[in-house]
Amino acid sequence: MRKITQIAALAGVSALVLSGCAANEAAVEETTSAATETSTAVVLEGTLDGSGASSMASGQEAWVAGFQELNPGVTVNYNPTGSGTGRDQFEEGLTFFTGSDSSFKDEELATPHPNCSPADGDVFEFPIWISPIAVMFNLEGIDTLNMSPDTVAGIFTGKITKWNDAAIAADNAGVALPDLAITAVHRSDESGTTGNFTDWLSKAAPNTWVLNGENAGDLEAWPAEFGGEGGNATSGVIAAIAAGNGTIGYADASRVGDFGTVAIGVGSEFVAYSSEAAAKIVDVSPIKEGRPATTLAYDLDRDTTESGVYPVVLISYLQGCMDYADDAKAELVKAYASYMLSAEGQEWASQNAGNAPISEDLRQKALAIIDQVK
């Protein structure tokens, strides 16, 4: 009988724990008054659904948390479905904003969006997330290496197979390179990181980044012909690099950890990754022409020779309607986008997600666009 009583007691305790609300969710209500200082005068309520690039999932996670703390009545769901699916869902009217690793294609701009008013009305887009992609390696005793874009392309296409290859040695005088096989690690799932990395290679190393005799172009999925080792998602790539000796891979720079990193050849110098150097690329790149004024889409100048620019960056756009059919949603999108663009929002994200805050100039331009959303 004692056994049964014990079990009953255990069940009771666990039921008590489980039936309660989450401690952190209940606490949100109480902190409301403390947060009113920065929140808007209007009390916002409702749910805002967005989806898109998984590359900025950690940034969105930080922004959602920060925004929900200021506006306890609001729930923002950002579903990292990937950029393409995100734009599709926006087109189907399932979501109200999109995070995307690439800007709207021209035909997408022409397609009606059911949540906008009118449906074929203008949309907005601007870079909200800029993050350097680091080329990182696991090689005992070596912290940094210089590599030209052609060398990186040679490694990732399987043409350069040894660490002491002449192409690597030429840029790294005085570094004792081991006679060790290179294992190049790439993403095995589709990703914007791969898309941006290959976009850079196709522009900066057009003669080496070749598949079947042609420039391989920018690819979201890694082609089997290049070989190398695949890792699932960023964490898979990191795990693969960590597991082997002589591995090299590309991933969001916030995940470099103890790995060695590659300084990329730009013009005549080698630039190490940094948030500032990454943010600079937007300043040297032209805006795509012939599109609505509310779209700030950049033609990234990846083969720039400008000093101090780190060209291997991931840039993600925030996309939505200029005029929403549902005014309540418009309020939410406006408030959320303004929060992301605010100085605190940018600071908060780069603290927690390690991205580069967008430049002040771009921030002001984007804010001016968001102000017109209704």
Partner: protein, 354 residues
């Protein structure tokens, strides 16, 4: 151990201490050989795997030859097989122990009160918990159980008590087929079903996850319930019929109670099997950071998906995400342990007395 087994004694036997001594001797000899020959890897460590393999091989050869000389060929073969069986066992247990230990060691870091009282809403980096995932797992598994247990037990009753002819054969056959449905296919099915029923906007919800789990669980329940009903002695049924009890009452009042303990155990084992399913829930139930008590709308987090997403979608402070993943894995293992324990207690309490 060997000599107590059925008390069989051969005329000439090696002493009991022979085997352990021979094993230790062989391993020591191999290690010595490795040390003397300087056969080490780059950092000077001995390759333990190689020593174990070679040492064991040496032991087997030695034992066979000596035993063959002393005890004869048949005994020697028997010793060889004993060696192989024990080795297979050890070989299988080592990774399993390593796995269990890894989960325990890494999971214990974050197995604190906060882990069981918080969700991941508004949590960036450290802290947070899996309450939303635990609730989701409990709800979805409960729904899946409510669907699959009645369906499974009734099917088993049909197969054992009523089923004759081609339909029964087909059902038996397809229950087997269903046992082999890959979990991701069950997830795709639930997703496709709800996509057609509810449209793309709300196709992913807790119910879809529960349906995919039920698809995986039902055949397991059928199988175990069928086994248990089959071992109810026919004498019991006949005695009941002889007393004029109708067949359905016989099944409900005589057969089922007799098999109840076994069926309950089977159900709990089935729950334990599906509670760790990741792939179907990832597709069908999605994932979220907030509490969601309503399985009929919006995405729902579950523990296995929590483990996966914590690992796969890491933030800058990667360590705290990985810690949460391991803590989730440990929680899952503890739940499974409790379920198994529960199954044992039920089978003790309810098994027919006498």
């Amino acid at each position: 151990m060997a000599t107590t087994f059925y008390g069989i004694q051969a005329t000439a036997t090696l002493p009991r201490w022979f085997s352990p001594l021979a094993l230790i001797g062989s391993l020591a000899l191999t290690t010595a050989m490795f040390v003397v020959s300087g056969f080490t890897d780059e950092s000077g460590n001995l390759n333990l795997l190689a020593i174990a393999v070679l040492g064991f091989a040496l032991y087997m050869i030695m034992t066979y030859l000596i035993s063959r000389g002393v005890e004869g060929r048949r005994k020697a073969t028997d010793r060889m097989v004993t060696g192989w069986v024990s080795a297979a066992f050890a070989l299988a247990v080592v990774p399993l122990v390593s796995l269990a230990w890894t989960v325990f060691e890494k999971g214990i870091n974050r197995l604190d009160a906060e882990f069981f009282t918080s969700s991941m809403r508004n949590v960036v980096g450290e802290g947070g918990g899996a309450l939303h995932a635990i609730i989701g797992t409990v709800e979805l598994t409960t729904i899946a159980t409510l669907i699959s247990v009645p369906l499974g037990i009734m099917t088993a009753i049909y197969l054992v008590e009523y089923g004759r002819g081609r339909l029964a054969k087909a059902v038996t056959f397809f229950v087997d087929v269903m046992t082999g449905i890959p979990s991701i296919v069950a997830g795709l099915f639930a997703f496709s079903l709800f996509l057609i029923l509810l449209g793309p906007a709300s196709a992913i919800n807790g119910m879809a996850g529960a349906v995919s789990l039920a698809v995986l669980m039902t055949p397991v329940v059928v199988r175990s319930a069928e086994e248990m009903l089959k071992i109810v002695p026919n004498e019991l049924r006949e005695a009941s019929y002889a007393l004029g009890v109708p067949k359905w009452l016989t099944v409900v009042k005589v057969v089922l109670p007799t098999a109840l303990a076994g069926i309950a155990t089977g159900v709990i084992i089935a729950i334990a099997r599906v509670i760790g399913e990741t792939a179907p829930l990832l597709l069908a139930a999605g994932f979220t950071t907030s509490m969601n008590y309503n399985p009929l709308s919006e995405k729902m987090m579950t523990l296995p998906v929590f483990v996966y997403t914590s690992y796969a979608i890491q933030g800058t402070d990667a360590a705290s995400y990985v810690d949460r993943a391991w803590a989730g894995a440990l929680t899952l293992m503890l739940i499974v342990m409790l379920l198994n324990l529960g199954a044992r207690i039920i089978s003790k309490l309810f098994s027919p007395k006498g």
